[in-house]
Symmetry: D3
């Protein structure tokens, strides 16, 4: 996002922490009959900004306990166990102390939230700081493309990370691509939630493709003899190898939907699309920034082919000005 959090270096952990609070409240109210997990969507960011405000990263790194990284498994498990214990209502009623205790745990793992703080010579509360950023919650829209709901209406995307029950604009597949292209071409970045557990998502190699994979049933002669002798994992790695541009499958709206319905596509991970690139054959790629280790080929970026984007995008979030007028108009509401 042009005015996005990254460049301003807003504390991510502050968002994470406040989402945990709201998830816990909702989990207990629903008697534990919903999910409670670390994940979230790009829309969590404006949600927290609006409701709780923001803090600069340097003032709230959210690493309070002498570790370089979050021991995420532990804090997730501890919080989940905590709310599950409350939601079981062992004494038939829920105490008024549980929320303070939950905050105590958040303080221990993320650090205490300051009521006010000094930043660049001014004093802020989280809310006043968020307001000072001049970002409007309603400026961001989430977009996706699925056929189990009508196009050009909003629907509540049924993925666990959409825990805030946010509405998503539903557009045909080609229009979802137009929105991204338009955004990038006009200097906006795009928050991108996609499946990253596909065979074709090669992080260390820096590319994500939807190749037509090698078909072993066409092997013959010495090639077959060699293949028969491979062990299972070698067969696998041979079959799913990428070492250069490959023919990719054609991704239609139907195929995309089928992969979503069968849950081959799952809601794995959030990244940011920051640019458009081309390979030697003129094929278009999206240049994507990912928070994983920078110790790979492109120092933390990956090039995503158009077929991969069309098939494996769960949803995108963009500034509403980045949506082409023609598309925006089709939404009445």
């Amino acid at each position: 996002m042009r005015k996005g959090g990254d460049s301003l270096d807003i504390s991510e952990m502050y968002t994470v922490r406040q989402c945990y609070r709201d998830k816990a409240d909702r989990f207990v109210r629903l008697y534990g009959e919903t999910n409670f997990a670390g994940g979230g969507s790009a829309l969590d960011v404006p949600y927290v900004w609006k409701k709780y405000g923001a803090i600069p990263e340097e003032l709230y790194p959210g690493l309070n306990y002498g570790e370089d990284n979050h021991v995420h498994g532990e804090v997730d498990d501890v919080l989940k166990s905590y709310v599950e214990a409350v939601a079981k209502k062992p004494t038939k009623k829920v105490s008024t102390a549980w929320k303070d205790g939950f905050d105590g745990v958040l303080d221990a793992y993320f650090g205490e939230v300051p009521e006010t703080f000094e930043y660049k010579g001014k004093t802020y509360t989280p809310k006043s700081y968020a307001e000072s950023l001049g970002i409007n919650y309603d400026d961001y829209v989430a977009v996706t493309s699925f056929t189990h709901h009508p196009f050009y209406e909003e629907f509540i995307l049924e993925v666990p990370d959409n825990w805030i029950n946010a509405g998503y604009m539903n557009v045909p597949l080609d229009e979802m691509k137009q929105i991204v292209d338009n955004a990038i071409n006009n200097g906006y970045t795009v928050a991108w939630a996609a499946d990253v557990s596909e065979k074709g998502f090669k992080w260390y190699q820096g590319v994500a493709l939807m190749p037509v994979w090698k078909d072993e049933s066409t092997l013959e002669g010495s090639e077959l003899a060699r293949w028969v002798k491979l062990n299972k994992s070698d067969r696998e790695s041979e079959k799913y190898k990428i070492d250069g541009p490959m023919e990719e499958i054609e991704v239609t709206q139907e195929l995309r939907q089928q992969m979503f319905d069968s849950q081959e596509t799952t809601d794995d991970h959030g990244m940011v699309i920051i640019g458009i690139a081309e390979d030697q054959n003129g094929n278009q790629y999206y240049k994507v920034k990912n928070s994983w280790t920078a110790k790979q080929v492109y120092d933390g970026y990956i090039y995503v082919s158009v077929p991969y984007f069309l098939a494996k995008t769960v949803d995108i979030m963009v500034h509403k000005d980045a949506v082409p007028k023609a598309i925006a108009k089709k939404f009445q509401k």
Copy 2:
């Protein structure tokens, strides 16, 4: 509701069945990380009417297997086990057959849904029949009164039965009462979701009160001696006895909220408020129709005191014309 389902004798089981289908779809899409249960809210009825239509009760009683009553536990458990097995994705992807199998189970327990049917000399589809009823989905609004969200805005009520993530109008407690009074006085009925597991909800006696219960710590002398000799269950039943009008507690917005937050108030059961009555002392009661056995004092009706209503109402659904103008105006949207 003046134009409500009961008088028209619309099939309830058709609504139940179609909700099961949508719950199953949602459950599988969310990887099983949500609840799947028989319950629902009054808003399910217009939701199904709009999406799937309706069938007359006599054409779809929904009792397909030689029983007088639904063996609800079995069908609930069978359906839940089924979707849980699917959601575990034993083969890493979800088949395309599971929905047909789910429908097969629904057919077995509720009866097959006719594509078209004859009724009073006309041929209908469920959708065309629902349209013929002249009822508009958007005419019904759900209302509640809680302080953990701002008044005069809609919010998604956090109770498991609100599985469709419907929005509820949030109003101050006295205005919630005004809406009901206004509706009844203008000939509308009100769908009422309330906690029915309170000590003061005496179904067989036909009254629901919030009494100031007897305080055993004030007992002395022979009364105490008698009380000491009672066994636990007799002590309990003595303490919570109602045998006539009793002093009731005063229910404020705060008390209501606290009982909701501590989950003393839970989302138990849906009934219909059909009238207003008074006792010998001039206290107001709501006359409520309940689907439980009619073998009680008032042939299936119960009189609910105002304190009970204020404290234990989870939410109400009314025709939007039944909401006083002055209140309706406070909602921008």
Copy 3:
């Protein structure tokens, strides 16, 4: 079997489906205190033929949902979850609807069973079609060889796949071999249930042996030095390598029994013995057809050494005429 299902191309999935029905009935009647799983024995085929009939493969492929292969894990799990839910009897009694629901699920995954069908110009029911095949259920006998029951009597083989509690002829080990040899030499095929999870069962190499494996404790000098540096999986694959005829262990009745009792031998998989072959050293092998991928050395066949056969056969099923008279006579019954 000379008149066997494969050559006639009888629908296997029809057998599978009907077994599921009977397994479900038995599972519920036994209050869930038995197993319910996809597996079965060769005897299931005549069992279903006799009880429910048969359908040609082309008319009942049993793949009803747009997949090339059965998503077996899902259908197994869904059916098991279903019957477990019923068997728990949540309402203290079992409904009459559950079987119809179960059939609905089977219809979804395997396709509906036609009451009658046209085949090569005639109309059949499954039962009349099975009768038209001229195969007699009682012509097939199951044979095994174990010492925890007396020889020359029938006993109910205690393996989960024998869910129909069929009786097996128990003969000494050499006579079990004679029966197979006699059958093959007289043009019968033999259904063979054997353990296929042994180190010596090399599917891709097309041989199954019981070798005397390499003993690393005899290594010395540079061989030992090399071996010490191997990682665990390389050590394993070195130890259990087959690359030509190897010395095999001698399999006695006692050893066979001990491997069965200790459950090193388990009831894994059904195949068909179709011939006898010899290697360069004159050792006898059984040529076995297996339904796994044909993308191995012998296009879907495997050569099984006599020691492997003697040790790892769980049971065989043959036409009774294929049993040598001298052996058959020892069974009174």
Copy 4:
């Protein structure tokens, strides 16, 4: 049974112990995919006599640990936990020690089994003692009456207590009664397995009936007023009260089957029918001996009405000479 165990005072616990051994063997062989429980059928007695022999009660009371009664829950649970641990095969194979350990546990709870013993001046092994009793295993037949299998054939009754997979003669309902009447009239007793958890089975009152229960929906006036004020358990006990002969329901083959299929009839308990009696109205009852406390009205006997017998009998076991010739003839085998 005329020559039955009770009068000879044969050790019941010896039978129980030996059945546990065989159940354990079977449970482990089936990889734990079957039930393992204390229950059994009347056929267990001849099964053990034939396979392991018998011991007089006084020489093997089976109470080895200073208790007056078996702490059945503990021994059941300990044995079950033991075989479950073995069947999980933690080391991928089953040891040869587990059976000795299992016997060690049986020794501790039931006492060691003597290899030989002195009894009335003679030395016996359990097997020689059983032979000395002159009872022939094959003289006892089990009979039942259900329509989910054809009449006049044997089938394996699908109840958990039939863990030996014994065959039961299946006869029409009236013939099952004829067999019992014939047996009693000819001086045989009949082992009777029946559902004893019915409302009409009043052990302390000494009668078992199938009454047409009181219908509260017919109540009116003061009777209704009184009933409304009863608490739940009082309502229940009023509804299901027996205080003299009552009108009973008519039990047909269909009703019997339906109650079995829906598992309202369950396989609860084994008793012995020892006589026939009549009440003041000339209705027939079976006089039944039950092993429960004798501290009830008839010192340990209960009178079972014909409708109760017809509806709730799971199966009977009688000496084959007690079966009327005309019925026996209908069984070919």
Copy 5:
């Protein structure tokens, strides 16, 4: 205890809180393979005084969340879930934050612990306050009487509440009684841990006896007829009724041990013996203060017979000066 906490009104909740901390530490160190529960022994009090100090009750009531009583089930469950989540080590190592989070939860439920506080005009830390009380940890000894360890040695009593692995003096049964009598007669109170779930422990009646209960097998005639007609719970309450002094069983060392080994005696509850009394027949009772509701016959006290004391005492804690010299001498250490 003469100098005991009660008279000084020391905060019990401070002890409870600090024990939770140490239990949590131990639980995590033992990888969760131990118990973690609210219970504790009388020895916890000196243990905490010595290690952490003490706070006056009025300064640390330990009720921090607007409730009159601790919602004990919730805080127990929340803390247990928390430490279990940590002990599972989801990330293979334990973070350094978990203890702070645990403290945060304790703060929420019990209130923050002041580092220093003002009391009666002086400033204390918890440790300096405890020291100011002039009580010595080593002055208190725990005593019990069991034969599975040698007398006159200390042993670690194997009950879950002894989580600090404290040593207990083991004396013959009569000497345990002498210690209590001696203590009471010299003005000491005795902390008493005993089984309170016995039929003979009648809290509301204010007595605890070990009666020879009514034997229904001796009933005859009309008494039997009456008894037969009682329902199960009435039979029970009749059998175990106390309405005056009753003959009690004789409690020997052996009987006591047997009831402990068979776990009829369990470690239920801590109380305080404050006096000795006699009934009309000259039988001795201990007067015991219990923290349960004072709304019973003796305003919160119960009279415990000598047989009850001998049979059901798990252990006692007394000031060491209260132990008779002759007994103390038998302990070398």
Copy 6:
């Protein structure tokens, strides 16, 4: 230990067996709220010697069931399942038979314990044999070094294997090393319990180090390119390779504590330190005997570097005469 069990060839399995008995007793007494597992500490040996005695290895190999090795998983699981079943107290009390049954299982897996035995011409009981060895239980002390308890006091080490709640001497890290060095230099061996699941514990290579591992974030150019292409397991094995002396990390008391608190150091395995050695660079190593396969580089020995020893020692047990006087003096008790 100079007089240690190994050289005398005392039966280890006798110790294991007797510990199981005491663990079982303790587990049941604590209502199953503790751990029950095969593991133990070096202190178990003197514990059993003192309480139950000892038997020569050749007379009690403890392998009773025709296997060359203990099928440890099975016996562990069987025993654990057994005591868990007892501890659940299905009948509300624990029988007196359970211990005999438990012994019966131990007999089956380990062999019966002789009451007396002949050895080298003399007759012994286990206790008299243990006494004849002239070893004094109190001569052995356990030592460790942790800062969560004060130095120079004994504390109960909080590791599951310390199930006997033994006290450990706590000394500063350098003194723990002095104790070992002093012991070895004076001809004593040292029982060593250490973490053996570290990357630096290379059993087959015969060394245990705490290396400063390769840091991939410093890779550049072709080294990086090569590393990027490795698969995950190759990256791992490259990173943690040892092929000669390597720089090791400096182990301080703080680092040691931190690794223990975070449970990177766990209580894995007991070995024996038998000597001191030096590498080519003059670095000191401990020569350690381990019971694992001798098929490695040093025939069953491993050389442990000083940093490894300091970091990963959980505790040691030595003869008390092996503790330097100066250190011993600091313990009052």
